[in-house]
């Protein structure tokens, strides 16, 4: 048993090393205290609501959020706007619906069941408006980038003047954390860009943290349930394992072999 565990742990350590060393080779990302990390990690409700505000006032003009519906904003484990608030948010968007009985498409205020309104008609229109670069959909963006939340958080604060020797084309910007350091998106944030309704000071750092938290939720809307359920499941399994261990010892005591 001891021997078995020793060899097994050695192999796992060996397997895990390349994973961590791979991460270490890349640029050191900026770190912050994410409330959703760890065994009991939960979203900071305030950060999610502020993050939604940053998304909708800044990012949403170019970046779509096609897998989310307005109803999600009022669901448990998310920003948890009240149903009235979510309805009001939905109604503030014009949604194209139809065709009606005359065969015409028409515009109406959004409802909770509507998907987030897309900023562009189609991919080509989005590319045309952004110098050929398609602003990626943000629904699962955090999971689609190697560094995850730390990467997005750093990228938003990574704009800088290009170091000597690097020339940038028209419409290309320098970013310390971008792959290849060249990014088509101009610096989206500046201090005081949005006016938080809860009075929080809208620094670039604060907005980066809030919007990244929001994007983590859009990518993993069930993260809180997952953490809560995981803790219960693992505690249950550990208790059951201990009980089975003693049953096993009892049963095997009839044989002189060790288990």
């Amino acid at each position: 048993m001891k021997n078995f565990l020793r060899i097994l742990s050695l192999i796992i350590v060996f397997l895990a090393t390349p994973l961590s060393s791979q991460a270490a080779e890349k640029v050191e990302y900026l770190k912050t205290d994410w409330s959703f990390k760890g065994l009991f990690g939960k979203f900071d409700r305030g950060a999610l609501q502020r993050g939604y505000q940053v998304y909708t006032e800044v990012c949403a003009s170019c970046h779509s959020m096609k897998y989310l519906s307005y109803r999600n904003l009022a669901e448990k484990g998310g920003p948890e706007f009240t149903e009235q608030q979510a309805k009001a948010i939905a109604a503030s968007f014009d949604v194209t619906d139809g065709p009606n009985s005359d065969g015409e498409m028409f515009t109406r205020p959004g409802k909770l069941s509507d998907k987030f309104v897309m900023p562009y008609e189609n991919v080509k229109a989005a590319q045309a408006a952004n110098g050929g670069a398609y602003p990626p959909d943000m629904s699962v963006l955090v999971k689609a980038r190697g560094g995850g939340v730390d990467y997005i958080y750093s990228l938003l604060q990574g704009y800088d003047d290009p170091p000597v020797g690097i020339t940038l084309d028209e419409g290309v910007h320098y970013n310390k954390y971008m792959y290849g350091n060249k990014i088509k998106m101009s610096n989206p944030l500046s201090d005081g860009l949005v006016e938080y309704s809860d009075g929080t000071n809208a620094t670039v750092e604060q907005m980066s943290k809030d919007v990244t938290t929001f994007l983590m939720w859009t990518a993993e809307p069930h993260l809180e349930t997952r953490h809560q359920m995981g803790f219960k499941a693992i505690v249950y399994l550990i208790i059951l394992t201990i009980l089975v261990y003693f049953s096993m010892k009892k049963i095997w005591s009839r044989v002189e072999t060790e288990v």
Partner: protein, 420 residues
């Protein structure tokens, strides 16, 4: 199969059993004499059965919500993750379950290698096992294509393109596999069909694997033939059942940790980007469990030879019972083999590591050396070692070294003759 004939006690039971001997089978399975010295490396057979059932059950549920269409697959996976009740849980169990399945199967295979479980009379068990392993790789590869992310698409492109290395008919075969001139909707739908089929083929082969096992019975850490039933064996139930349950629960704790706390760590971030035939990812890498073979493939400069090397690396395992010329099963009594065994383990881990790295410079050199050593181990070291190696004396029975307190053959022989 069982030595003692079983008769049900009840009249109805006897009536049924005479027509379909299910009760005899159940009796055989519970009574099945198992060597009592099996260590925890032997618990992975049960764990693997659990993995297969888990994959089938979660897979069936996912298939109820998944849409196998190039335009809708990615979206339907997000639908499962967001709107299907506990869909995220089912999908994360299925995705991480594949990794756990391979983790368990590698431990299972390397246990066989250490204790010589592939040797006579267990060659058929071993060969069925290799076929199961091949089917597992096919199922895992096709399953990885289904979410239709960037790695799905480009992984499918790279792997199916391997067939183009076949002389003359290669290109035609690739077009036939794709159902078109590139990986597209027809490829996705057929991969989905096959991904659904293969687990049931595996299930059938698992039945044969266990059937073939129950003919000679389990090998054991000492690697000697065991008289059944005897002082060296215990009935499968309750002894092995409870032990396997205990090991399975520990395995499930690790499994649960991945599912609930780091569900995406074993996947690739690019697979959360929808497939785009016009954008090639910077590095196309397969899932971790295929990396050693990917390294072998890339270490050969010629495409056709690379494919042949990769396939041979797997198929050579099927010839293992005849490549290993040693009559002694367990590495415990083979001091030299034991060292070469651990070198092989390190070699495969190194291959896995370089498989994840770009194929250039030092990585490529290491991959080539490790590939050469892999084949050297099976084709040269094992056959020669079996003939040259001085093995340690093996005990006559499992109980003997424990009761006698020595593994010395001479004392054991004396003792046996004095008993007679």
């Amino acid at each position: 199969m069982s030595d003692n004939e079983y008769t049900p006690t009840s009249k109805a039971g006897k009536w049924f059993n005479d027509r379909l001997p299910l009760l005899t089978l159940a009796n055989h399975l519970t009574d099945y004499p198992t060597p009592k010295n099996l260590n925890y490396w032997w618990t992975f057979g049960g764990i693997l059965t659990f993995c297969l059932i888990t994959q089938i059950v979660t897979g069936l549920t996912l298939a109820m919500h998944y849409i196998a269409h190039a335009d809708m697959a990615f979206e339907s996976v997000e639908h499962i993750m967001r709107d299907v009740n506990y869909g995220w849980l089912i999908r994360y169990i299925h995705a991480n379950g594949a990794s756990m399945f391979f983790l368990a199967v590698y431990i299972h295979i390397f246990r066989s290698l250490f204790y010589g479980s592939y040797k006579a009379p267990r060659e058929i068990i071993w060969i069925i096992g290799i076929i199961i392993y091949l089917l597992m790789m096919a199922a895992a590869f096709m399953g990885y294509v289904l979410p239709w992310g960037q790695m799905s698409f480009w992984g499918a492109t790279v792997i199916t393109n391997l067939f183009s290395a076949i002389p003359l008919v290669g290109e035609g075969i690739v077009t036939w596999l794709w159902g078109g001139y590139s990986v597209d909707n027809p490829t996705l739908t057929r991969f989905f069909t096959l991904h659904y089929l293969i687990p049931f083929l595996i299930l059938g082969l698992v039945v044969l694997h266990i059937w073939a096992l129950h003919v000679p019975g389990n090998n054991n850490p000492v690697g000697i033939d065991v008289k059944k039933p005897s002082k060296d064996t215990v009935p499968f139930h309750p002894y092995i059942v409870i032990k396997d349950t205990f090991a399975l629960l520990m395995f499930m704790i690790v499994f649960a940790f991945f599912v609930f706390y780091t569900p995406n760590i074993l996947g690739h971030a690019d697979n959360y980007i929808e497939a785009d035939p016009l954008v090639t990812p910077a590095h196309i890498v397969p899932e971790w469990y295929l990396l050693p073979f990917y390294a072998i493939l890339r270490s050969v400069p010629d495409k056709l030879l690379g494919v042949i090397a990769m396939l041979s690396a797997i198929l050579i395992l099927a010839a293992l019972p005849w490549l290993d010329t040693s009559k002694i099963r367990s590495a415990v009594f083979r001091p030299l083999y034991k060292q070469f065994y651990w070198i092989l383990v390190a070699d495969v881990l190194i291959l896995g590591y370089v498989g994840a790295m770009p194929a250039e410079g030092l990585y490529l050199l290491v991959a080539r050396v490790a590939t050469a050593y892999y084949f050297l181990h099976f084709l040269v070291i094992l056959p020669v070692l079996g003939l040259k190696e001085k093995t340690l004396p093996i005990p006559l029975s499992i109980t003997e070294p424990i009761l006698g307190g020595t593994a010395n053959l001479a004392t054991a022989r004396n003792k046996e003759s004095s008993i007679k």
